[in-house]
């Protein structure tokens, strides 16, 4: 039972991290109809910017400065890159962001080198917050949870309670009408793109010390983020939250509990072929849940697509 609690917390951290990325991605998608393939690259930039700032000014300044920097960069990309490609249609837009992701990875390698950089969590958070049955929960994890929850609540508040949020929501569904009412819709798009990438930047800043900051970190997380928003339903913020948490917990629990296919198969009544390495089915018999933890999100996605093509919370015509 204690272990369940520990895993719940671990999964929550992963899920909230995923949510910070998928929230921005899904907001941008529902607004412009374009999936930002480079979204995870902005997450990586967040981590690297924060690292560079933390070298001179410390972690906290990095946490404050890196996300706005990433956001400004994202807004510039929207203004001078994406808006230009927009006239050619959605597929070229997607290809553009794909090229952007490649470029950002190459640029990061160019500037910071191919190896991981030494970006660490601040001294002040290097203590054990509490422990559950001998399993220490580091304070940094608690800090991550609070930051993510804080941002989620702030985002929810801005989107639903403020005037800016109302206009954004209106611009999501009826951009033409909103424009006719005198609002600068391209500016709103640019702003949303900037905020979305800044959110990814925040995720990078706080995940960098835990998941290590290296040039491949965008690819590692990138495809999982896409899977998340496909599972949650494209364009649905609630769906993104549910899918993020689902994936977070699914992978954490699969890694923590060593469920072996062998036990399941013998339990059902099959007998294990001997010797196992000559059998056609050796891979099936030797599968363990930690081994497949990383592909579970993809499997889940395929299943969802087969049985519910619009995702968990997606609208039919999204």
């Amino acid at each position: 039972m204690d272990l369940v609690l520990v895993n719940l917390i671990d999964g929550l951290v992963t899920g909230l991290l995923l949510f910070m990325l998928s929230a921005g991605l899904t907001l941008i998608f529902s607004m412009m109809g374009v999936l930002n393939f480079a979204h995870a690259s902005f997450y990586m930039l967040g981590a690297y910017f924060a690292y560079q700032i933390s070298v001179y000014l410390g972690f906290w300044v990095g946490l404050l400065l890196a996300p706005p920097l990433v956001g400004v960069l994202g807004a510039l990309v929207e203004r001078y890159g994406l808006r230009r490609v927009h006239q050619y249609g959605h597929v070229p837009e997607l290809i553009f962001t794909f090229g952007l992701a490649l470029m950002i990875e190459e640029l990061v390698q160019f500037i910071w080198g191919r190896n991981a950089v030494n970006y660490v969590s601040p001294e002040i958070l290097n203590f054990t917050a509490f422990s559950i049955a001998g399993n220490a929960i580091p304070a940094y994890k608690v800090f991550m949870i609070f930051i993510s929850l804080g941002i989620f609540i702030a985002l929810l508040y801005v989107l639903t309670k403020t005037r800016v949020g109302m206009i954004i929501q209106a611009a999501l569904s009826y951009p033409r009408t909103v424009e006719a009412l005198g609002h600068n819709v391209p500016l709103i798009f640019m702003g949303v793109f900037g905020v979305g990438t800044a959110l990814a930047g925040v995720a990078g800043v706080i995940a960098g010390p835990v998941l290590s900051t290296f040039p491949g970190m965008a690819i590692v997380l990138g495809s999982i983020v896409f899977v998340t928003i496909v599972i949650g339903g494209l364009g649905s913020l609630g769906g993104a939250l549910v899918a993020s948490l689902l994936i977070g917990w699914l992978t954490t629990f699969a890694k923590a509990y060593n469920i072996r296919m062998e036990d399941i198969l013998t339990g059902v009544g099959f007998s294990k072929p001997e010797p196992i390495w000559d059998s056609m089915w050796q891979d099936l018999w030797t599968i363990t849940s930690p081994q497949i933890a990383d592909i579970l999100p993809y499997l889940l996605m395929v299943l969802i697509l087969v049985f519910r093509p619009y995702g968990l919370f997606g609208k039919r015509d999204a």
């Binding site: 998608f29 109809g33 374009v34 999936l35 890159g81 230009r84 490609v85 050619y88 959605h90 597929v91 070229p92 997607l94 290809i95 553009f96 794909f98 090229g99 952007l100 490649l102 470029m103 190459e106 640029l107 160019f110 080198g113 690819i219 495809s223 896409f226 899977v227 928003i229 496909v230 494209l234 056609m280 050796q282 891979d283 599968i287 081994q291 497949i292 990383d294 592909i295 993809y298 499997l299 996605m301 395929v302 697509l305 087969v306 093509p309």
Partner: protein, 428 residues
């Protein structure tokens, strides 16, 4: 009805010099190419190009002709290739199978996989299709480490092509024999893919790409049209995989992963997705860049990425689109208007690019070279990358190049308009 019959009576002959000439020329070129570029490394590169061209053309059946963007297409080629290596390892069966027929099996396996995946992924086009293709691609790539029986784990699986039944006495021991096999399959599959694009299904794929709603109103299911393109593309990807298996005799996880899938998207788009021959140019240019530039600099991927982004932003037609833009001036007989402005713009343009690349290379060398190693060589000149002179020279070349290009650009635009407008007398 009478209208229709009258129109069909005037159908031009199917085989004309205009549409057979490119094929005859490519046959001739492929036949004599190994005589011109006879070194071993050249033949290796040409083999690689041939395989990549088949793959790129198959990919373009989706991207260019069907408007479907796939981020996981390496999987179909990879799985086809893995199947072929398994056939190579089935000793009794393989000893009765002449090697040139092996790619068919790869194609069938690729097609079967495409049937399975396509059954749910082709429901939607556009972004949703792209995301599904990415997820499925990643899923299968990740499976390669888990399903060891088929994918051989991290070291992959390998076979030996020479165990096959000799084909008219040829045992495919030498690269040149493999080259002709690849060239044969390249021509055959390119021809078949071209013919596919001329069939009603291929034409409907274009219609569904441009306007799925109208295609639906005409009574065609856009989903099934996409599905057929997808399956056909899977078949030819599998053929490319079979050729890969024959040429390299080993397949690994690398043949399935996102980097390979992204690479094929990159070269198809660079070459020009809008034209049938675009991917051919893209594959050739990309592999040349990879081998030539890759030998010269560690940063080749950065340059290719920049080239790709520039293509997406400014020339969405790719190289093929740029070439085809010149059809009008040639028809009007006004190409001569363009020669001088081209020289005026492109020579400084190349200078600017070289200057910018030098700056990047110098910065990279100064930052990342091992301590004490301060000498670097680019463009056949060796100098100290920490000296201020080198920086000034490189920056000066870049700035002057950019300035001259900017100065010449309006002239080029003007000449371009001039070349594309017919003379007053001639137009009538």
């Amino acid at each position: 009805m009478t209208d229709l019959t009258q129109k069909t009576a005037h159908v031009p002959p199917a085989v004309t010099l205009g549409n057979t000439l490119p094929w005859i020329l490519s046959i001739a070129f492929l036949a004599i190419a190994p005589q011109i570029f006879s070194s071993n490394s050249a033949i290796t590169i040409m083999n690689q190009m041939g395989i990549t061209i088949v793959f790129a053309l198959a990919y373009n059946m989706l991207l260019g002709q069907g408007g479907m963007l796939s981020f996981g297409h390496a999987v179909y080629m990879g799985v086809g290739g893995f199947a072929c290596v398994h056939i190579m390892n089935m000793e009794t069966f393989f000893s009765y199978l002449p090697l040139p027929f092996l790619p068919i099996f790869g194609g069938v396996v690729g097609m079967l996989l495409a049937v399975i995946v396509g059954s749910f992924s082709t429901r939607r086009a556009g972004t949703v299709f792209a995301m599904i293709s990415l997820g499925v691609g990643e899923l299968i790539a990740a499976c390669s480490v888990i399903i060891v029986v088929f994918f051989g784990g991290e070291e992959g699986i390998s076979g030996d092509r020479t165990y096959g039944m000799p084909f008219f006495g040829i045992e495919f021991l030498q690269h040149i024999e493999v080259y002709y096999l690849t060239a044969f399959w390249l021509l055959l599959s390119a021809f078949l893919m071209f013919m596919f694009s001329r069939t009603p299904v291929g034409r409907m794929a274009n219609a569904v790409r441009d306007n799925p709603e109208r295609a639906e109103f005409l009574g065609y299911s856009s989903r099934w049209v996409r599905f057929y393109s997808f399956v056909a593309s899977g078949f030819f990807c599998g053929i490319a995989g079979g050729l890969f298996a024959i040429n390299y005799e080993i397949l690994t996880e690398e043949n399935l992963n996102l980097a390979t899938s992204g690479g094929i998207l990159l070269m198809t788009f660079l070459g020009g997705a809008g034209f049938f021959f675009g991917p051919v140019i893209g594959a050739v240019v990309f592999i040349l860049l990879q081998t030539v530039l890759g030998l010269q600099t560690d940063l080749w991927a950065l340059y290719v990425g920049a080239l790709f982004l520039a293509t997406v932003m400014f020339f969405p037609g790719g190289f093929a689109g740029l070439l085809m833009m010149h059809v009008t001036p040639i028809r009007l007989g006004k190409m001569h208007v363009l020669y001088v402005p081209y020289l005026k713009t492109f020579i400084p343009g190349i200078l600017a690019v070289l200057g910018i690349c030098s700056v990047i290379e110098i910065v990279f060398h100064a930052r990342h070279a091992p301590l004490g190693d301060e000498d670097m060589t680019i463009f056949w000149t060796t100098f100290n990358s920490h000296s201020i002179v080198a920086w000034i020279v490189a920056i000066a070349i870049a700035v002057i190049g950019v300035w001259l290009t900017k100065k010449a650009a309006p002239g080029l635009v003007e000449a371009w308009h001039e070349a594309n407008t017919p003379d007053k007398g001639a137009s009538a």
